[in-house]
């Protein structure tokens, strides 16, 4: 892709500071919006852009904003979800680290559109070093009249505050995040009522991901229709993909949606192929929660079409042969990766991070972890494999929040696509018992 949109200017020295950011056209969108556009018009542009939630769900942002209860006389809140904790995802961290003002600009525009006077950035506590960077950017924006009372001489006032979490994956779920922001345990709320009606402190609230909100700046700058011309079909615009695992160039890349997965994986501009010239075994395309796909299915759909980096193409074939774009956490496994070990590892993650509120998730994640541990460590039974499928099925859809689904999908998909590897672990306990690294199962190269 030629020009960067969200990451424009990221290589310019000093872009983290206000002056350099401003000199490259930063905050021009804020001036344009506040001086020439009504809040409704900003909303319209975002709707026209086709922007979809970049945190994982892919819900149209303009539509989410339209749900906000504008009749209520209570204050409205905008909460920026910077609780990036999905394994494989590190795009928001990258964006906030290098371009904090891009986020602040997006927050000002979004708050203007939504009629919000107070905005909180909920950032995971482990990103303590980013708190200072964001606070500094906010201070600079205040000093230049872009935050605080009567911004740019208009009647619009806004304050942005950074609020740290303290180590809980579940707080990335929007209602758990709101609970946490209220100073409580991060237990997700039952929806409805949705945050658009009863969110923070019972007031109408919009919660959006960092990348989503940061994209509002470029959208207002170039116009919603121009943004919608980028991308492919309903997957408009660009998306940050954080690539990691066994590849030559791990990192965060801004891609125009519609790029073939194969190009992303092998182009020297992006992942630059599998490290050590090994074979590709599997990919988790959208953060650890989405189904894992074997090499054949990630590059091409079951219909034989090239798989593209879009919401639609990645979910083509649904869960039987497809996956999801999710948060854009792109984890690549080479021929040596042990899928049983990886699945056990992720199950342990979800067990650790389950808030414990719903029994299917609290108990089910623990059972999946235990059973997978014994399969991986040479103590498994053949019936364990179907047991895992059954437990996963009983969690899915039976919990208040999607963490249950997120815990079930990696297990179900790993067994769906790599069942032989699980069986191999059960059949050869002596071979898997003491060796925990790499695959003992010969890779079937098609």
């Amino acid at each position: 892709m030629g020009g960067k949109i969200l990451l424009a200017g990221i290589d310019v020295p000093g872009i983290r500071g206000f002056d350099v950011y401003r000199s490259l056209g930063g905050y021009a969108s804020v001036e344009k919006a506040l001086r020439e556009m009504t809040p409704a018009l900003v909303n319209t542009e975002v709707t026209k852009s086709g922007l979809r939630g970049r945190g994982g769900a892919g819900f149209p942002t303009g539509l989410k904003w339209s749900f906000l209860d504008r009749k209520s006389d209570k204050p409205r809140y905008l909460v920026c979800n910077a609780d990036e904790s999905e394994p494989g995802t590190f795009k928001d961290r990258y964006l906030m680290h290098h371009l904090p003002h891009r986020l602040i600009e997006g927050l000002i525009l979004s708050s203007y559109a939504l009629g919000v006077k107070t905005c909180y950035i909920y950032i995971r506590g482990e990103f303590k070093y980013l708190v200072g960077i964001l606070e500094k950017a906010i201070r600079e924006a205040h000093e230049h009249g872009l935050l605080g009372e009567k911004i740019l001489g208009t009647d619009f006032s806004l304050n942005i505050y950074v609020h740290p979490g303290a180590g809980a994956y579940i707080c990335g779920e929007e209602t758990a995040l709101l609970e946490s922001l209220e100073g409580k345990r991060g237990n997700p709320r039952i929806k409805p009522p949705f945050p658009a009606f009863k969110g923070l402190y019972g007031c109408p609230t919009v919660v959006n991901n960092v990348e989503t909100l940061a994209t509002v700046g470029p959208i207002i700058g170039m116009g919603g229709e121009a943004y919608a011309r980028l991308g492919k079909g309903k997957s408009t615009g660009t998306k940050l993909i954080s690539a990691c695992g066994n590849i030559n160039r791990p990192g965060v890349y801004e891609i125009e949606l519609g790029l073939p997965v194969e190009d992303f994986l092998y182009s020297p501009e992006y992942c630059d192929g599998i490290a050590g010239d090994k074979y590709l075994k599997a990919v988790i395309a959208g953060g650890s929660s989405v189904p894992v796909l074997p090499a054949g299915l990630i590059l091409n759909t079951v219909k034989g079409e090239k798989r593209l980096m879009t919401y639609e193409s990645l979910s083509d074939g649904e869960f039987a042969t497809g996956t999801m774009l999710g948060s854009g956490g792109f984890i690549v496994f080479d021929e040596d990766a042990c899928m049983v070990r990886n699945t056990w590892n992720l199950s342990r993650f979800y067990h650790h991070e389950s808030c414990g509120q719903c029994s299917p998730c609290r108990e089910g994640t623990g059972w999946m972890e235990k059973v997978l541990y014994r399969v991986e460590h040479g103590q498994g039974k053949m019936s364990d494999i179907d047991l895992l499928v059954r437990v996963a099925k009983n969690i899915e859809g039976n919990t208040i929040c999607p963490l249950g689904d997120a815990a079930a999908w990696p297990v179900a998909s790993a067994i769906r696509h790599f069942r032989k590897e699980f069986e191999y672990h059960v059949e050869h306990p002596e071979r898997v018992k003491n060796i925990n690294h790499g695959s003992l199962f010969p890779l079937a190269v098609e």
Partner: protein, 203 residues
Amino acid sequence: MPDNHKTNMEQHNNKIIHPQFIKEGKPVAFSAEVLGKIRQLLLRYPEDHRKSALLPVLHIAQEELGGYLSVDVMDHVAALLGILPIEVYEVATFYSMFYLDKMGHYVIEVCRTGPCAISGGEKIMQHLRDVLRIEPGGTTPDGLFTLKEVECLGSCGSGPVMQVNTGYYENLTPGRVDKILEELRENANKDKPDDSTWVEKFC
């Protein structure tokens, strides 16, 4: 509290509640400077929702008042925010960044989740166990290092990763870990390795 009652409670506590949950009654207090900054922090939230400041204030309390959240510290925070002690306990026990035990001078937290594991995270953990001669959860006898396993730190493209008192150390190799430990030992009498405190971050 009568002595016999206290003994009963301790026995009871040891069974189901963490021993650190026994109130020692030691006086704890923030310095005037920190307290001033906390009061500034409270103004970020609506007047009738000051409890919102609980997480940031607990971060500050843990850092300023001994490196972990003792019952005395938690009670102090509860009084400061005008909430019940139980409201602080339930939060402190939920979030993994709050420690209920006394910690070493340096808390080393190694990521163990998927992407780090496939890029060598398990070897880094094994190396740290060998070098420090402690298991995850343990503290070295000199009180310098506490070793912990944690879940994804959001550093998947630069793994393996560990945090030392919330400072990030990425792209680790056993050799690099040795160097980091050496530097930490040398600087043990100076400041902690992260660039600034929570109080400084906010103000």
